[in-house]
Amino acid sequence: MPKKRTQVADIDRSMYDFRYDDSDEEKLQAGLTPDIVREISAKKDEPEWMLEHRLKSLEIYNSMPVSDWGPSIKGLDMDNIVTYVKPNTDQKSDWDNVPENIKDTFERLGIPQAERSYLAGVGAQYDSELVYHSMQDSAAKMGIVYSGIEEALHGEYADLIHEKFMTLITPRDHKFAALHGAVWSGGSFVYVPKGTKLDYPLQSYFRLNAKGAGQFEHTLIIVEDDADLHFIEGCSAPKYNVANLHAGAVELFVGKNAHLRYSTIENWSKNMYNLNTKRAIVDEGGSVEWVSGSFGSHVGYLYPMSILNGRKARCSFTGITFAGQGQNLDTGCKVVMNAPETSTSIETKSISKSGGVSTFRSSVVATPKAEGSAASVSCQSLMLDDKSRSDTIPAMDIRCKNVDVGHEATIGRIGDDKVFYLMSRGIPEEAARTMIVNGFADPVSKELPLEYAVEMNNLIKLEMEGAIG
């Protein structure tokens, strides 16, 4: 529907930067103690094993050092982060029942409109809790479950969640995974039964409104054998002058010959520390496709990981990162090829501008079981000025014979000859540069659903504005 496109095309900065007073929200004290963790758990009426998991995670968190590589996170003081902020509402399944200011937030972000036009289901989280969750009846009739994960802990799949929860990403993974294990709140649970194919995507949108707060949602998706799902994740926050933290976790289980596409457009505000962890395990003949756009955050560490654990399992990663002024985005992906004849395809683009730092970091491991596997890694970086920085750190660890690996990397600038050519046909300089950058990003944007591709092009346009002189 062309009208919908116009709606997205007309966004301006205020689309992300508006914010509401958070005084009517219930906030826990800033900082991190066993009491705070107990309080979060108590509010959620969750099973006993979960409280134990939280307290154990907190211990691990306290015993682990902060990583000594990657961008600095010195500006993040956990004593100042409010780990739990409850919006003044319970979860609804009708937008009309969602409080006005929260509903307005999601309307301005275009979520209900998108739900009406092309989504099979939507979950919306505001600060620490889901405020809306709904799925079309047709999908429910297929046996698909899409709900808040906390709600699901009391439902039919409680045991399955217990069995899987934080087994792919364990609290010992790194300090912020441990933090997540201790204070996680909100997030979605998706279960797609065997042989079920959902034609329309499900989408969860995460909005962090409260100042100085953290968001720690947990997304758990199980796609059974021969099933197919496209899941979209969006996130944004208004800008504050104090640090906010996002340390979510995404665990994806992809069955035999199943297919999961996981698309993300991340546009956190530029005071955000985005220390997010995502991981998929793929069984025989299954495939996971990551499509990832990283635009926001002050500091970002993001490396979605795929474990190819069955013969002929596949993964592809298509990503773009745009680091502007004051941003240090360390992004990429990890793959472990742990079965014969698996294949990996990684294609990333990164753009840095106005002093922004963009680092591509990847790790591809072929274990001794990976005979006959193939991996290709390609990353292209574009630096828009002399102040910006781009680095490429691809690692490959091949531990068996007969594995085909390839890697290519280019780092470049916008050619003056290209700008001159476009200008010689009447296109102003800023538009010419934006056109070149959009073209550079095209391999990623064409992987996104139309509405998101348009949004991404607009985000690039916003970033490019005022880039001249």
């Binding site: 046909r425 009447g426 300089e429 959009n438």
Partner: protein
């Protein structure tokens, strides 16, 4: 200056990396005329085309360029284009990820008087592609990426016919070497002349491209100086005797400085 010239280059000097390429160049082109700028390799012919279009690679160190009554010496390239000046490129660039049709659309969107509805736009570019024997599939391909020399030339001519500039500078320094490219350019020039009563400044060192054209004036450039000017009869003279006769003439003109 000539009062009714469309393009009037006066005493123009330009340099790149502090090396002077153009020396006190004077050149006038009246509306509707066909001019040819000839000269040996490396004479600065292409540079003159690029400087006229405002290529930031070059620094104008003296003189002026007046187009359609306005001094454009300081004007940005995009504004020169919208004022009706066109430069076809010897080696058009590649812009990955930008479909040719969206690029063409953008060139029109910047011109309020040329805006058209999408349907009409598609029809127009398809017709032009057809006229230039260009596979329509190219309209949806990434601009310049993987295009042959002949195809790139077609894209340049398509833009010439789409934008209908008042003056087109065709930098055809090397295209005389490629028979296909040559015929594409000839066809483009004919259509442009016929349809828009277009004004042309053709940059070349090869006379074959001029065979079917009614040339009004010939300018010869050697080492950044205009050393000779005359009517179309100069072309056959150059064809027979080459540029040797002019070499050294630039020393004389330098002596005048």
């Amino acid at each position: 200056m000539t009062r009714d010239a469309l393009l009037s280059v006066r005493d123009l000097s330009a340099s790149v990396d502090e090396k002077t390429i153009l020396h006190h160049v004077d050149l006038d082109v009246a509306p509707g005329e066909v001019h040819v700028l000839m000269g040996p390799n490396g004479a600065g012919k292409s540079t003159l085309g690029h400087v006229a279009m405002g290529d930031p690679t070059y620094t104008v160190t003296g003189g002026s360029i007046v187009f359609d009554g306005n001094d454009i010496t300081e004007l940005s390239t995009d504004k020169r284009s919208r004022a009706g000046l066109f430069l076809s490129f010897q080696a058009p660039v590649e812009i990955p990820g930008v479909p040719l049709s969206s690029f063409l659309r953008s060139t029109l969107d910047e011109r309020p008087d040329m805006k058209m509805k999408n349907k009409q736009f598609r029809k127009t570019i398809k017709e032009l592609a057809c006229e230039l024997n260009m596979d329509q599939a190219y309209l949806d391909r990434e601009l310049g990426v993987g295009f042959s020399g002949g195809e790139k030339k077609k894209v340049e001519m398509l833009q010439l016919l789409l934008l209908k500039p008042k003056l087109a500078i065709l930098d055809e320094t090397d295209s005389g070497l490629d028979v296909d490219a040559l015929s594409v350019v000839s066809q483009g020039m004919d259509a442009y002349r016929e349809r828009c009563d277009g004004t042309l400044l053709i940059i070349t060192h090869n006379t074959r491209i001029l065979e079917h054209l009614d040339v009004d004036r010939v300018h010869v450039m050697v080492r950044g100086h205009i050393v000779a000017e005359g009517d179309a009869s100069m072309i056959s003279d150059i064809d027979e005797n080459g540029f040797e006769q002019f070499i050294g003439a630039d020393d004389a003109s330098e002596a005048h400085e």
